[in-house]
C-alpha cells in the first residue's frame, strides 16, 4: 500500500552542497512530477516526466536536474544548493496526463539550505 514514497523526508544542506531526492511509485504510472511548495506560493512544477527515459522542464526548473532511468523512479538533483531552494518538495505521479484529475502525492521532503 505504498503509493508514492519520497526519501529523505528531511535534509539540511550547506550552500554549494549537492544532493538527490528520490521518488518511487508502485502504481505503474507513466507520469511523474516534482513540485516545490513555499509559503504563500502554492505548488510550483519543477520538472516532470511522461515516461521512462523522458524529462521536461516545468515552471521553475533552474538549479535542478532530474532523471527517470526506471519507470518507477524519478530523481531530483540539486548540484549546488542555494538558500533559495529551501522548500518542501513533493513528488507526484499519475496514470494519464491529468485527464482523470488525480495526482498521487508523496508525503514531501523538507529541505533547508543554510
Amino acid at each position: 500500500n505504498a503509493g508514492v514514497t519520497q526519501t529523505p523526508k528531511f535534509r539540511v544542506l550547506k550552500t554549494g552542497q549537492s544532493m538527490t531526492l528520490l521518488c518511487a511509485q508502485d502504481m505503474n504510472h507513466e507520469y511523474m512530477y516534482w513540485y516545490r511548495q513555499d509559503p504563500g506560493m502554492g505548488l510550483r512544477l519543477i520538472h516532470y516526466s511522461v515516461g521512462e527515459g523522458t524529462t521536461a522542464k516545468g515552471e521553475v526548473p533552474d538549479g535542478y536536474n532530474v532523471s527517470r532511468l526506471k519507470k518507477q523512479n524519478f530523481l531530483l538533483g540539486l548540484e549546488s544548493a542555494a538558500p533559495s531552494q529551501t522548500s518542501v518538495y513533493f513528488c507526484a505521479s499519475s496514470l494519464w496526463p491529468l485527464h482523470t484529475g488525480e495526482l498521487f502525492f508523496g508525503e514531501g521532503s523538507r529541505l533547508t539550505v543554510l
Binding site: V4, G40, M41, G42, L43, R44, L45, V50, A56, G58, F90, P97, L98, H99, T100, G101, E102, L103, F105, G106, E107, G108
Partner: protein, 113 residues
C-alpha cells in the same frame, strides 16, 4: 501566463458552520479544474470539474464550476475539526501533447470545536 486565485487566503469557523471557498482562474485552453485537500503532508484529491453547472458532491463537500465567469466554489456543510486543512485549487490546461496544472496559493481553513 496562467493564473489561479483563491480566496479567502484563510478563515476560521466553528464546528457546524458552512463555508464556501472560492477559486477564480485565467488560463488558455481550459481543460479541467481540480480541488485538493492538504492536511499535514500530501495533498489528496477531492474533485475534478470539467463542465459548467454540474455539481460534484461527496458527503458534506460539494463543488461547482462556472466556465463563463471562470470560477469554482467548494462548499463544506456542517464543518468538523477534521476539515481543518489547506484547500488547493488547480487548473489543467493542455500544452501540446501533454497538459499542465497551475495551482492557486491555497486556502487555510481552521475549524474550532
Amino acid at each position: 501566463e496562467d493564473k489561479v486565485v483563491q480566496s479567502p487566503l484563510s478563515l476560521v469557523v466553528h464546528e457546524g458552520d458552512t463555508v464556501t471557498l472560492n477559486c477564480s482562474y485565467e488560463v488558455t485552453n481550459f481543460r479541467s479544474l481540480l480541488w485538493y485537500k492538504q492536511e499535514k503532508k500530501a495533498p489528496t484529491f477531492l474533485f475534478m470539474l470539467t463542465s459548467s453547472g454540474i455539481e460534484k458532491k461527496s458527503g458534506r463537500l460539494s463543488s461547482i464550476l462556472d466556465k463563463k465567469e471562470l470560477f469554482s466554489i467548494l462548499n463544506i456543510t456542517a464543518t468538523q475539526t477534521g476539515d481543518s486543512a489547506v484547500y488547493l485549487c488547480a487548473v489543467e490546461a493542455p500544452t501540446g501533447a501533454n497538459s499542465k496544472l497551475t495551482f492557486g496559493k491555497g486556502i487555510t481553513l481552521s475549524v474550532r470545536p
